[in-house]
């Protein structure tokens, strides 16, 4: 799985650490880290929670063109 750089950029844009984002969405820091590194594929429920916390949409963070 490819790294989710869009998520990392959006989080950095909001000046949030992985820990702070994790607390906002109610998961562990290691889960946010794994999503950013492309090691974990989150559920749609968690994707929505992350989008709400960062004020973005699913398309902005999780849609990829030319995805296999």
């Amino acid at each position: 799985m490819a790294k989710n750089l869009k998520l990392k950029a959006a989080r950095a844009g909001r000046d949030l650490s992985q820990q702070e984002l994790a607390e906002l969405v109610g998961v562990s820091r290691q889960t946010i880290n794994a999503i950013e590194k492309g090691e974990y594929n989150p559920t749609i429920k968690l994707c929505r929670a992350i989008c709400r916390a960062l004020g973005t949409t699913l398309n902005d963070l999780f849609w990829e063109e030319n995805e296999e």
């Binding site: 998961v27 562990s28 889960t31 974990y40 989150p42 429920k45 968690l46």
Partner: protein, 155 residues
């Protein structure tokens, strides 16, 4: 009892399920291996010495079979057809036959006895396995058809 809030998030939950999955299969193959070793140590006539392992093993097998059938699940790769069931039954029969033949040879040093054990177990286990697989495959197909049709009108 009140539902206690989980300490795990969804990724940790998924990881724990993976760990439990591996632990379950470790227990399954470990129990089977333990029973085979005990069969060599105690012999066929003293199977009562490992009745505990056998009961736990059978409970595990029955639970997994029942849970899979209730959810319309057969196997990741194998198909629930007659040809596959027959192949699996022949393999199971041959495996059981070889194990009992080896036990017979090691404990009683009799080649004709080992051959007879192999033949008897091959036929007996092969037939039982094929019947059990045919029966469960039929139940699986029924359940799958039911699950596929359920809620179609609500969509």
């Amino acid at each position: 009892m009140k539902n206690v809030k989980s300490n795990l998030d969804e990724m940790q939950e998924a990881k724990l399920l993976q760990i439990e999955h591996k632990g379950c299969w470790l227990a399954f193959w470990g129990l089977l291996a333990a029973m085979i070793v005990e069969l060599f140590v105690f012999g066929v006539e003293n199977m009562r010495y490992f009745i505990g392992e056998w009961i736990v093993f059978m409970v595990l097998c029955i639970y997994m079979t029942d849970a899979c059938l209730r959810n319309g699940i057969w196997d990741r790769r194998l198909k629930a057809d007659r040809k596959t069931n027959l192949t699996i039954s022949l393999i199971a029969g041959a495996a059981a036959g070889l194990i009992f033949a080896a036990v017979s040879l090691v404990r009683y040093h009799s080649v004709p006895g080992a051959i007879a054990s192999f033949a008897l177990l091959f036929v007996f286990v092969g037939i039982c396995c094929f019947l059990a697989l045919s029966l469960t495959a039929r139940e699986y197909r029924k359940k799958l058809a039911q699950l596929e049709n359920d809620g179609e009108e609500d969509a």
